[in-house]
Amino acid sequence: MSKKNLLNSKDIEIILHRLACQLIENHNDFSNTVLIGLQPRGSYLANRLAELLKTSYHIKDLELGLLDITFYRDDFRRRDAPLEAASTEIDFLIEDKNVVIIDDVLYSGRSVRAALTAMQSYGRPESIELLVLIDRRFSRHLPIQPDYRGRQVDAINEEKVLVTWTETHKKDAVYIEFK
């Protein structure tokens, strides 16, 4: 298996700043907006963005939640290995809020579909948007597109996109793995 480096830590930093600015453009001071990171991997990106918005762009009172979608997946019992749930940490209601769902890679769209269902347990939001670091177009199973994307990638199905974070792999990077 070989892998190609798609983004290095500098690229990711620039993208994070751009995404933060795009969010500010649409959501001003975030007074009626909440960020929801999808567990497990979307939570790193969500935490990073929230931190950036607070420190570099002086957004106060930013609400960030983490959502686990394991119990809402449509492939329960259809996978080879069982999935273990991660924790959901949403201590606010999303009723009438503008929600931004955050995940690292958008591939089939099924996780986002599950997240949309899961969100119903926390109220009826005013609107929901989707932010992803990597958008793998041409591989969607559902009619779901991101509102904010870090980078669009034309990877074919046999290839795998791997996002690593300093928190987990000591390095911010995005790779494409070829079999």
């Binding site: 119990f71 019992r77 069982p82 999935l83 924790s87």
Partner: protein, 309 residues
């Protein structure tokens, strides 16, 4: 990976420590779910569960049914009182008739010891034992341990005394297995007539003095005197039982430390435990009921993961 080592939940004695750990970690997530405004997840949309209660039950049946509904499973209920069991149908026939309706999981309570094990060998469904005679009641033991873990942070190394009718109690036996598996120390306390003869073979000590037992323990799990299972008189009178083995506030006040009070219900207030104790701050009796739903959701969810189509 996150999978139980067993195909059915027939008793705690078939489980490994990792299984209990996995069930508790999963129950943590479900506890969060049942405290949401909308307390339901769609995981088990395509699973059908039959609750077969050949013996009376109120809270266990309600708890299982609620757990199943919170997971979005389809549920059918069966009580022996209103069924063909009275017309002479055998257990396997009854269950096979129900399975012909495409049921994936059977939750069963039965008066005969080993009914769950017997069924698991003869029918093609996941079996969850909701109490078999005086043998095991695994989900009760799991929720008891879960409640201890929640209150004290850990079960390992804790000292637990089970007070009361040990002889007729499936809760006691399952609790002993579960607590020992997790590294806790267990003692039992009760009238000698209600302590099983071979209890020491389980590595459980007997303490006949309630005060000494309570001084030793971190947690007291108080059991109900099961008059309905007693064919002979095991102690002279209820009044005498209360005097020797009833827990009241005075006894707790004189301990010089706080201990956690548990009771699997239903409580005979004023017999094994006074109202004051049952409702005190150290009592986790109602937490046990809430945790029961989360733990049962976890068990059902983990077993349903193994259902193949």
């Amino acid at each position: 990976m996150a999978e139980l080592s067993v195909e059915h939940l027939l008793g705690i004695k078939y489980l490994k420590e990792n299984d209990i750990d996995l069930i508790f970690r999963t129950a943590d997530h479900f506890k969060e779910v049942i405290n949401r405004p909308i307390k339901k997840v769609p995981s088990l949309r395509d699973i059908t569960i039959a609750n077969l209660f050949f013996e009376n039950s109120t809270r266990t049946k309600l708890s299982f049914e609620l757990a199943e509904k919170r997971l979005s499973a389809d549920v059918i209920n069966f009580s022996a009182g209103q069924s063909s069991v009275k017309k002479g149908e055998t257990l396997i026939d009854t269950v096979n008739n129900i399975l012909a309706m495409k049921v994936d999981i059977v939750v069963m309570r039965h008066a005969s010891v080993g009914a769950g094990v017997f069924l698991s060998r003869h029918v093609d469904a996941k079996i969850i034992n909701a109490g078999d005679g005086t043998h095991e009641h695994p989900t009760q033991a799991l929720l008891d341990s879960y409640s201890i873990r929640e209150k004290l942070g850990n079960v390992k190394g804790k000292k637990i005394v089970i007070v009361g009718d040990i002889l007729h109690s499936r809760v006691a036996l399952s609790n002993i297995f579960a607590l020992q598996l997790q590294g806790a120390q267990v003692k039992v306390c009760g009238p000698t007539t209600l302590i099983p003869k071979y209890i020491s073979s389980l590595g459980v000590e007997v303490e006949s003095n309630l005060k000494k037992a309570l001084e030793w323990c971190d947690v007291a799990n108080v059991l109900r005197v099961q008059h309905e299972r007693m064919d002979i008189k095991y102690f002279p009178s209820t009044r005498e039982y209360t005097q020797l083995f009833g827990i009241n506030q005075d006894i707790l006040n004189n301990l010089g430390k706080k201990i956690v009070i548990m009771h699997p219900g239903p409580i005979n207030r004023g017999v094994e435990i006074t109202s004051e104790v049952a409702d005190c701050n150290e009592s986790v009796i109602l937490n046990q009921v809430e945790n029961g739903v989360a733990v049962r959701m976890a068990v059902i969810y983990l077993l349903a993961q193994q259902v193949k189509r």
